[in-house]
């Protein structure tokens, strides 16, 4: 299948990019109704552990574990979504953050799945790449349809102005719950796919930073169109790889070029900065976010830019 086309390195990058895009969609769904969740990592963990228990402990086949794990996460999502209905903004952020913390705590102390030692020997799924990109195609088709449906418009309206949505006769409560639950379901799928690719997860796998990253994927990519999460997740996942490549090219420079005093220091700094393994890429993330806020506050890709692009092409064809 797909995995025979790529070498191991490319394969692994493709898998992580794909899982990150799916995770970004899990944030995008509730966000479409104006609900900002920092707790998507918690839902990823629920999906990973639920599916892992089904395959490793109960011996169920992976496809079953994937779907049931996703469904369980979706139900948990509806449960978290209920209190989330009454609060918004910063308080919702805190609530979802607290949820992710609780999941982390439970996972760490639950001996059945290894507790602090982590959940080990989860069966490896050789077809992760096919599953991930198959699911992505399904999601893209679903979002393309949602965008044109009255449900999609209702979600956008709720995001913009809940009062307006209510006076137009939109069932705000049900749609917000639905969006939150579906988001959790998608996160559960991403978690299950990840667990059966990595074969090991523990309480730190789905930490707060993962939740922040997921949020960044959508905000950087653009949240006004369903292509935004794809662009954002792909860009931010591939960025460290690109930085690593830059670093490798840097090493090819003849040493005499960087002999001079200032150049040598700059070289050393850049070399250090591009080190993929260290936490400096978080600084890079921060800088990107700040630059984005100033230059493109609505993300790389927006509905308007897509509109303009397609309008331009249509005019071009007419001419």
């Amino acid at each position: 299948m797909l995995d025979t086309l790529f070498d191991g390195y490319t394969r692994s990058i493709l898998v992580f990019t794909g899982i990150n895009i799916i995770a970004a969609y899990s944030f995008y769904l509730p966000f479409k109704t104006g609900q900002v969740s920092l707790g998507q990592a918690g839902f990823l963990a629920v999906g990973a552990y639920a599916a892992g228990i089904m395959t490793q402990k109960l011996g169920l086949p992976f496809p079953v574990a994937l779907l049931v794990g996703g469904a369980i996460t979706g139900l948990v999502g509806v449960g978290v979504g209920f209190p989330a209905l009454r609060i918004r903004g910063i308080y919702l952020l805190l609530l979802t953050l607290a949820f992710a913390e609780i999941v982390q705590g439970v996972v760490m102390t639950w001996e059945y799945t290894g507790g602090a030692e982590g959940f080990q020997r989860i069966p490896y799924n050789a077809y992760t790449l096919d599953y991930v990109y198959g699911l992505l195609v399904v999601l893209l088709v679903a979002f393309a349809r949602l965008e044109r449906s009255s449900l999609g418009r209702a979600m956008d309206s709720i995001h913009e102005d809940e009062l307006a949505a209510e006076v137009m006769g939109i069932n705000v409560v049900s749609i917000k719950l639905l969006a939150f639950g579906l988001g959790a379901f998608v996160a559960g799928l991403a978690g299950a796919l990840f667990a059966h690719h990595a074969t090991y997860v523990d309480s730190t796998t789905f930490n707060i930073l993962v939740g922040v990253n997921i949020l960044m994927f959508v905000l950087v990519g653009g949240s006004s169109t369903y292509w935004g999460p794809v662009i954002g997740a792909a860009f931010l996942t591939l960025l460290p790889e690109f930085l690593r490549m830059l670093r490798e090219w840097l090493e090819l420079l003849p040493p005499e070029w960087v002999e001079g005093a200032p150049l040598k220091r700059i070289y050393a700094f850049v070399h250090e900065f591009l080190d993929f393994e260290n936490e400096k890429r978080l600084i890079a993330y921060g800088i990107i976010l700040i630059v984005m806020m100033i230059l493109r506050p609505d993300g790389i890709l927006t509905r308007d830019s897509l509109r303009r692009f397609f309008a331009g092409r249509r005019e071009g064809r007419l001419a």
Binding site: R153, D156, E160, D161, L163, M168, G169, V173
Partner: protein, 236 residues
């Protein structure tokens, strides 16, 4: 058409409305006037289900809607033009109009949109513009047009004249009259008492959460107390 009986409502522990009784007959324009903070908006929110009354009942066409959620109330044919217009600023004029027909199952909304464009030609010119860049008057027209897209029997309006130039206000009140002529029932909450009373069949005064006066629009215009308190005329 609309009957409010002994209605008490407020926000949490803060009571705003105390035993309000009010009725709107089919085909009439009824206006509720009152000062800031009298509870006018709260009353409309209770009717449209956005806040839950603590006691009393609201009936529409004989059906008790007191504890129904907002979307069910819209489905019954009651549309609200909310305070501050509540249009979707980041959607186009056309998208706003389409959203107005959200509760309708039929697909005949193209004709209704045409109708709205005839009624409000400014909206047709700007149909592909984002609603947020329209002028205040155009936004108010859009808000009314969007509410009409649901084909309501009863139209609730919360201060449609707020912050608009006098000429536009006159135009909007003229539109309300036309709508009445087409058989709509209108419940209008206003601070602009003079113009509201001029088009109203029935009028109520709300003071600190209580209805203190009721009568025909014309009788209110001639009432010295109303003139003094709400129309800015001083007794000679």
């Amino acid at each position: 058409m609309l009957a409010i009986r002994d209605l008490h409502a407020g926000y949490g522990k803060i009571a705003v409305l105390h035993s309000v009784n009010l009725s709107v007959e089919e085909g009439q324009i009824v206006t509720l006037i009152g000062a800031n903070g009298a509870g006018k908006t709260t009353l409309l929110k209770a009717v449209s289900g956005i806040i839950r009354p603590s006691a009393g009942s609201i009936e529409v066409g004989g059906a008790n809607i007191t504890h129904r959620p907002p979307h069910k109330i819209v489905e019954l044919g009651i549309s609200q033009v909310a305070e501050g217009r509540a249009i979707l600023k980041r959607m186009t004029v056309l998208e706003n109009l389409r959203m107005g027909a959200f509760v309708r199952g039929d697909l005949d909304i193209g004709r209704d949109i045409e109708e709205m464009f005839q009624r409000f030609p400014a909206l047709q010119e700007r149909q592909h513009r984002l609603a947020g860049i329209l002028s205040g008057g155009e936004q108010q027209m859009l808000a009314i047009a969007r509410a009409l897209m649901a084909r309501p029997r009863l139209l609730l309006l919360d201060e449609p004249s707020l912050g608009l130039a006098p000429m536009i206000v006159t135009q909007i009140f003229r539109t309300l009259r036309e709508l009445q002529g087409e058989g709509k029932t209108i419940f209008l909450v206003e601070q602009n008492a003079r113009q509201a009373l001029q088009i109203a069949d029935q009028a109520y005064v709300l003071e600190r959460g209580r209805v203190t006066l009721q009568g025909s629009g014309q009788s209110f215009l001639n009432d010295p107390e109303i003139q003094r308190n709400y129309l800015g005329k001083h007794a000679a």
